[in-house]
Amino acid sequence: MDIHFSGVTKIYEPDIVALEDIYLQVDRGEFVYLVGETGSGKTTLMRCIMRGVVPSRGHISVNGNVLRKISNHQLSLFRRDIGVVFQDFMLLPNLTVFENVAFVLEVIGCKPKEIATRVADVLKTVGIWRRRNLYPPQLSGGEQQRLVIARAIVNVPSLLLADEPTGNLDNCTADEIMQLLLSINAAGTTVLMATHNDYLVNTYRNRVVEIHKGRIVRDEKQGGYEANVAL
């Protein structure tokens, strides 16, 4: 899935400029880090891609479709092709690990047999199959994060938006999550990952887009967390 931002500005009423004049092209199969301090506009940019936020100016197109012009029904279909790892997890505490993932396939009308197979596969991939009958509050932080990733990739999306997927995790667990995201990317999924984790960005080198006060201030292939960090 390729993404194109053209002169995108987002102003939250009355006058908070979240994004300003963003031009960005992300090609199919790329892995892109979005870095920048808290409140710089990383989350807003990601929300714009799934039309959770509508730009005040400019336009965004995904696979050639201008997001502003798609209908509500088309938006639902479009979102099925995007996996989202939410910053705040948004797991459903009254559903088991298995049900939290199965739920995504139910809303698109998959048959129970197909759901059982696909959920088992994805839970095994992220390494929490043995926890399938537990509820989210019974999981550790790392396991919850894996569950969120499992939910995001179960529908085999073309694009994965990961907002701080390693926040509050130790480096060892963050490493495991990162390996998981890289393997998803290697399978052909475009990954956009917002992060504050300099260790990961500097260790697993990929394209880095830095945002400061709503503007892109750096777009570097194989970049580090800070500008001019030597390889």
């Binding site: 939250y12 929300r47 799934m50 039309r51 959770g52 936020v53 509508v54 509500n72 029904h73 639902s76 279909l77 479009f78 979102r79 099925r80 092709d81 989202v84 939410f86 948004m90 459903l92 739920f103 995504v104 139910e106 809303v107 698109i108 009308g109 998959c110 048959k111 129970p112 939910r151 529908n155």
Partner: protein
């Protein structure tokens, strides 16, 4: 096939919602039941009153006495031409005497003491509606050959007034009952919707259509409304027939409705009405939330 699976999931979720909020579900079913019971009973009351009015209207007659030597048959023809008049019958002097004899029964012999038949010939006139009795009587008085007119004017007018009032009151009651059950159902569904706030938010983000998100809530509302209305019809059936058998003993001269078809029709109407109101309440409650949740910032 996908549609079939989706339908199964929304149906399952709808019933899950009913069970998840069991206390609220009972309260809503009870309210719907009470409301539809009142509506059903008041409908039966109105139908019975109307039935009585129709019966009494059929018995409402105006008796017109003609002047002696007037051609009674000509006058009868003239009266029959009036648009309000349904039936005209000439009562000869002999027929009047027979009627009197029949009415007095045991004292019939006393009638012969009257000697020559003193009773005048008359015309009995039936009109279409009770409300028309008074006006028709005034028109009859205007005919010069008619000496006197006797009719149950006040009874007719009162009966019409009661019938109109009951009908109007029952309409008001019906609207109030529908509004009350609608509001209760709307609030129950709104509570359910808010209890699934996170779930709805995730659903919309992973590509659920607004219709899919709304459907379980609509099913929940219809299940509650339908159950309430169905229980109320069972109660109406039971109470109505026991009330009718009691009333028939007390007032055997009144024609109460006992048709089972009518009760089935009423049950069908109440259940359809209950399901429709709950469908609309559920839809509005879920739609207002879902459209807000799916609106981009």
């Amino acid at each position: 096939m996908k549609q079939m699976s989706l339908f199964k999931y929304v149906l399952r979720d709808g019933f899950r919602l009913v069970i998840r909020h069991l206390g609220m579900s009972f309260l809503t079913i009870f309210t719907a039941m009470a409301v539809f019971f009142v509506v059903g009973i008041s409908t039966l009351f109105v139908l019975n009153v109307k039935n009585i009015v129709v019966m009494m209207e059929n018995q409402l007659t105006i008796t017109a006495y003609v002047v002696p030597k007037a051609d009674i048959e000509e006058i009868a023809k003239l009266i029959k031409k009036m648009p309000e008049v349904k039936e005209v019958k000439i009562i000869t002097k002999e027929m009047a005497l027979e009627k009197l004899r029949a009415r007095v029964g045991d004292q019939a012999k006393a009638v012969s003491l009257l000697g020559e038949n003193p009773l005048p010939a008359s015309i009995e006139i039936k009109v279409g509606k009770a409300a028309q009795v008074s006006d028709t009587a005034k028109m009859l008085v205007a005919i010069s050959e008619i000496e006197d007119v006797v009719f149950a004017g006040r009874v007719a007018e009162k009966l019409t007034r009661v019938s109109n009032f009951v009908e109007r009151f029952s309409w008001i009651l019906l609207f109030m009952a529908i509004a009350a059950s609608g509001v209760v159902l709307f609030n129950t569904i709104r509570i359910s919707v808010y209890s699934r706030e996170n779930e709805i938010s995730v659903m919309l983000r992973v590509g659920a259509t607004p219709t899919y998100v709304m459907m379980p809530f609509i099913i929940q509302a219809v299940v509650l409304g339908f159950t309430g209305a169905a229980i109320s019809t069972l109660l109406i059936g039971a109470t109505y027939y026991s009330a009718i058998s009691g009333l028939k003993d007390m007032m055997p001269f009144l024609p109460f409705i006992e048709s089972k078809t009518l009760i089935f029709k009423l049950a069908f109407m109440l259940i359809t009405c209950g399901s429709l109101i709950s469908f609309l309440s559920g839809m509005f409650a879920a739609q207002s939330f879902v459209s807000r949740a799916s609106k981009p910032l």
